[in-house]
């Protein structure tokens, strides 16, 4: 435990403004926000064209492992979601929902507020998806190159030995929503590091490679390479799951931003400057 120190006497008791995010990271972050949002929503438009997922090379139409559909109820169709043999009532959101201000619901897998464009329009969803897929991949390659060559990767993203040792405490702090203050707040914490590494070197490459595996022309680069992913329908499933993983990451990321000083966090990703909260442990004691 730290020695009791009078707040005014402690240098860490005063919050400080530090330059946290450099310009290239900030620019690429916001390009990524736009790309991921559009890719996710236009991807749901494409999914809606055949709202079922399979494993293997080809579609086993009578037994998808995921299907978002509508079943005939006593008062007309009702939206349902089936996952691995279990059926869930999801009417109003999944399977059947209102498009815009329409009076009557439409049978469609994902609702119009989650898709680009809103009304079901496969060809337009594909145009959005593939344009922003290019931007997303170019931005991703630029980011990874920058991270490696600028030292961002080793300096900020890789956990130190010290951080590995204290991982238990970091998990406990996270579960208690305790956010680091003082010197510790200047650096990404170890769970943050690991999450970013899994997203940057796991989920993002997977979503891109599984997406490419769905292209019949790219399958011809080395005939059979997509067997690595289990075949084309497995690739479609993995593309969907990786995208779901990214959505989960974004949800947790936004939650953490909101509960750890939303304005300070967002401002730091715009201007680069982050206010390090005063070290509460020292102030309190």
């Amino acid at each position: 435990m730290d020695m009791p120190v009078a707040a005014s006497a402690s240098p860490t008791a005063v919050s400080r403004r530090i330059y946290r995010h450099r310009l290239p990271v900030r620019v690429m972050h916001w390009i990524n926000v736009v790309c991921l949002t559009i890719l996710l929503m236009s991807g749901l438009t494409i999914f809606n064209a055949h709202p079922a997922l399979y494993w293997g090379q080809s579609s086993t139409f009578d037994k998808p492992w995921v299907a978002i559909t509508a079943v005939q109820g006593p008062n007309g169709p009702v939206g349902v979601t089936r996952i691995a043999g279990h059926q869930f009532a999801t009417d109003g959101v999944l399977g059947r929902s209102r498009v815009g201000d329409a009076a009557a619901p439409t049978v469609r897998a994902f609702p119009s507020w989650a898709t680009i464009p809103g009304p079901q329009w496969l060809s337009m969803g594909r145009h959005w998806h593939f344009f922003f897929a290019w931007l997303f991949v170019i931005n991703g390659i630029a980011y990874v190159s920058y991270a490696i060559f600028s030292g961002h990767l080793t300096r900020d993203l890789l956990p130190t030995r010290e951080e590995w040792r204290n991982i238990g405490r970091s998990i406990k702090d996270h579960l208690l929503f305790k956010h680091p203050t003082g010197a510790a707040a200047k650096r990404y914490n170890v769970l943050q590091n690991l999450t970013y590494l899994v997203v940057i070197f796991g989920l993002l490459p997977l979503v891109v490679i599984a997406g490419m595996a769905m292209s019949p022309r790219l399958d011809a680069v080395f005939p059979g390479w997509i067997e690595v992913l289990g075949g084309r329908q497995s690739a479609r499933t993995l593309h969907f799951l990786a995208a779901s993983g990214l959505l989960l990451f974004v949800a947790v990321h936004l939650f953490e931003v909101l509960i750890s000083g939303a304005w300070n966090q967002i401002r730091s990703m715009i201007t680069g400057y982050f206010v390090v909260p005063a070290d509460k442990r020292e102030v309190r004691s």
């Binding site: 919050s15 400080r16 139409f61 959005w128 344009f131 300096r155 130190t160 769905m214 019949p216 000083g261």
Partner: protein, 275 residues
């Protein structure tokens, strides 16, 4: 690991402020920005100039795909064990057009494939003549633009072989497939709505590009395009025109129908369907 070397130098002092009003304002702003952005995306989808920007990705994809999977790169072929019990039919399942109905009733005995346009020797071939030509059998995966896949065994004559018989002229750049099935109500003399497609000569002369008359060791069923459909194995299903009646070699498809090279292309889909 020497974490703050650069950050430390730029450190400035200041005070953290708590701003609940800003936070609420931010949340409201984000919510309304979301609604506006959605409406904006729909409006942009109807703006031709913007959609042209989006569509520029098609050229990029086509060029990149040609670079990594060359003109002759082969689509994966499968084993008989992979063949689906039922090959899903999609799009037109039975053409309602009177001329096609008559051919169908006659078991396609009077059907002929016409080959015309920019060729030295225009010709037409009966089904028996096509069957007498050298054939290729391949088990391939059919990928629909909607997202599903089905594996089937196809037998037919390579399009390259037929082109060799008619000898395309040097200025021929595309093969247009003219089909029997009307898509938007039955065709009239002034309103042709029949399906059509087109491919460049790279795909036309590709080893796996086959004019198929058999599916899974049976004569091609009507739901899958009887009596003849084309297989363009490295592109999506809508390129694989069914109910093919005529091949037309052209220099450009700009003057055909809406000018985009195919029925679905005229309805907004990409001409290059390798993705």
């Amino acid at each position: 690991m020497n974490a703050h070397r650069t950050n430390g130098a730029r450190m400035r002092s200041g005070h953290a402020r708590r701003e609940p009003s800003r936070r609420t304002a931010l949340r409201t702003a984000l919510a309304s920005a979301g609604t506006l952005a959605l409406a904006g995306c729909d409006r942009l989808s109807r703006n031709d100039a913007f959609v042209d920007v989006l569509k520029s990705a098609e050229q990029l994809s086509h060029a990149a795909h040609r670079a990594v999977a060359g003109r002759k790169a082969m689509a994966q072929e499968f084993t008989p064990a992979d063949v689906a019990a039922h090959f899903k039919g999609n799009g037109t399942l039975v053409p309602g057009d009177a001329d096609y109905q008559a051919l169908m009733r006659g078991g396609f005995k009077d059907w002929k494939l016409e080959v015309a346009g920019l060729v030295e020797q225009p010709a037409s071939f009966s089904l028996a003549e096509l069957r007498a030509m050298p054939s290729r059998t391949q088990i391939t995966r059919h990928d629909c633009v909607e997202g599903w896949s089905t594996i089937g065994k196809w037998k037919g004559v390579q399009l390259g072989h037929v082109l060799g018989l008619v000898k395309p002229l040097p200025n021929a750049k595309y093969v247009v497939f003219r089909c029997a099935d009307s898509m938007d109500g039955l065709s009239t003399p002034t309103n042709d709505t029949r399906y059509y497609e087109s491919v460049d000569l790279d795909d036309a002369y590709h080893v796996q590009t086959v004019l198929a008359y058999e599916l899974n060791d049976q004569p091609l069923p009507v739901t899958n395009g009887a009596p003849l459909r084309v297989r363009i194995e490295r592109q999506l299903g809508y390129k694989h025109a069914k109910y093919v009646m005529k091949l037309e070699l052209v220099e450009s498809f700009a003057s055909i129908r809406d000018g985009h090279g195919g029925y679905w292309e005229d309805n907004g889909y990409e001409w290059y369907a390798g993705i």
